[in-house]
């Protein structure tokens, strides 16, 4: 299987690559529209700033190809800022449009608890999830963020509670995303990546 990490000049690609490699999955990096077009599955990792991510994707002419890949049915996994990029807009960068795979927006978490939301937290499951198959209900995942999607309609399959409730796992058709970092979440994180690879491989 041909699985590629979208490379846009930021994002923690090596740690995702190592996590996949531990599962016996070799990945490559895609930084051009042509490279994206030839992939069986895509991962959009992300750390940093919503505006910087969208501008980097724009400068590399990757926004339309990413949307087209999703329309064609290519499985896509967004991680952290990669989840946020799937929404229409973000409070973090009001002038920058997201990929708009989902019509809702990304909000600044209200300062009810400590921010950034940093560390290991549990999930509240709302709908059946392919990414969470085989993952214990009380498992902890590693989060590091101050912005989040509070609502994703039917696509929100699991939520997390910190400064209120926000979308932690999102699934709709061939689009998957986690607000936490599976590549930093120990064995349960590896299970999530393995579940995505299985979906992408058509064995889900």
């Amino acid at each position: 299987m041909n699985i590629a990490l979208v490379e846009y000049g930021a994002g923690n690609l090596p740690s995702v690559e190592r996590a996949l490699s531990r599962l016996g999955v070799e990945s490559r990096r895609a930084s051009t529209p042509e490279a994206l077009a030839g992939c069986d599955a895509l991962i959009l990792p992300g750390v940093g700033h919503f505006g910087a991510l969208m501008r980097s994707l724009g400068e590399r002419s990757l926004v339309a190809p990413l949307r087209e890949a999703v329309s064609r049915g290519t499985p896509l996994l967004g991680i952290c800022l990669g989840l946020q990029a799937m929404f229409a807009t973000s409070d973090e960068a009001p002038g920058d449009a997201g990929l708009a795979l989902f019509p809702q927006k990304v909000s600044a978490l209200p300062p009810a608890d400590r921010l950034p939301h940093m560390g290991w937290n549990q999930l509240r499951r709302a709908r059946p999830s392919k990414l969470l198959e085989g993952v214990p209900q009380d498992a902890y995942f590693y989060f590091a963020h101050s912005y989040a999607a509070l609502d994703a309609g039917e696509a929100g399959v699991a939520y997390c509670d910190h400064c209120g409730s926000f979308v932690a796992v999102l699934e709709q058709g061939n689009v998957f995303a986690t607000q936490f970092h599976p590549e930093k979440s120990g064995p349960v994180g590896a299970q999530i990546l393995s579940n995505f690879v299985r979906q992408a491989d058509g064995k889900g």
Partner: protein, 254 residues
């Protein structure tokens, strides 16, 4: 459901090997960083910190290689630092595989550095490390590995550092460091009350009770320790079981 309190082993290195000492002096060799990282990753550490306490310019490529070797062993977050003085050095540390970087001396001398680092990498990647010591009726910040007294109020500096962009505070009690007499709970609580970001307590770790104290009275979000883990005086699994039994939310691992 709530955010777990983190237990963070710390690898103080001379750039290449793990070293340890009491009150920042009398350093001795304590092992290979990648080997220790692999062990803590399996035993249930929630995060790992690796510091270059020598932080000499000539040594930096060696430390970056150490970060790469350590990161390769981990499926948990990694924080690294020591002598970071500008955005380019921060970028080198993150590119080598760290998720967050610590900054200490350079931030006190030049607080806008925190703003620049946060703008470049996000606040979640910027940890302000403060070495503090009791002076009279307050705590004051020391820099350059604890050797230079700034006269700056540590609590006030933490507050200002967060305003400048720090996303987390790593507060080390120099009075407690290496003594195994318990964390400095009054210091940690004072910092924790002053800021809105997570606070990591460091210095003085000993028995599971000392961790319970710093998570309850000390109001810490995370606790860091070195020698009690390196010397296998305290097991991570046993420590977390104890905390769980005492109503502290922790991530239990197998």
């Amino acid at each position: 459901m709530s955010l777990a309190h983190r237990i963070i082993p710390c690898l103080d290195t001379d750039g290449e090997r793990v070293v340890k000492g009491v009150n920042f002096v009398n350093l001795r060799d304590a092992g290979d960083p990648a080997a220790l990282a692999a062990r803590y990753n399996i035993e249930g550490a929630d995060e790992l910190v690796v510091l270059d306490i020598a932080a000499s310019r000539d040594h930096r490529p060696t430390f970056l290689e150490t970060i790469r070797r350590v990161a390769a062993e981990l499926a948990i977050p990694l924080t690294a630092g020591g002598g970071v003085a500008n955005v380019d050095e921060g970028r080198a540390i993150l590119r080598a595989g760290a998720d967050k970087l610590t900054v200490n001396t350079a931030a006190i001398r030049n607080p806008p550095l925190l703003t620049a680092l946060a703008a470049e990498f996000g606040s979640q990647a910027v940890v302000l490390a403060i070495d503090a010591k009791r002076v009279g009726n307050r705590w004051e910040a020391f820099v350059r590995g604890g050797s230079v007294h700034t006269g700056i109020d540590a609590v006030e500096w933490a507050r200002q550092g967060v305003d400048c962009g720090a996303g987390e505070i790593l507060i080390t009690s120099m009075d407690k460091d290496g003594t195994r007499s318990g964390f400095d709970c009054p210091l940690t609580a004072a910092i924790s009350r002053a800021v809105s970001v997570p606070v990591i307590a460091s210095g003085g770790a000993d028995t599971p009770e000392t961790f319970l104290e710093v998570f309850s009275g000390g109001r810490a979000d995370a606790a860091l320790a070195a020698s009690i883990f390196h010397d296998s005086i305290q097991g991570l699994g046993e420590l977390k079981r104890y905390l769980g039994e005492h109503a502290i939310s922790v991530r239990q691992t197998a």
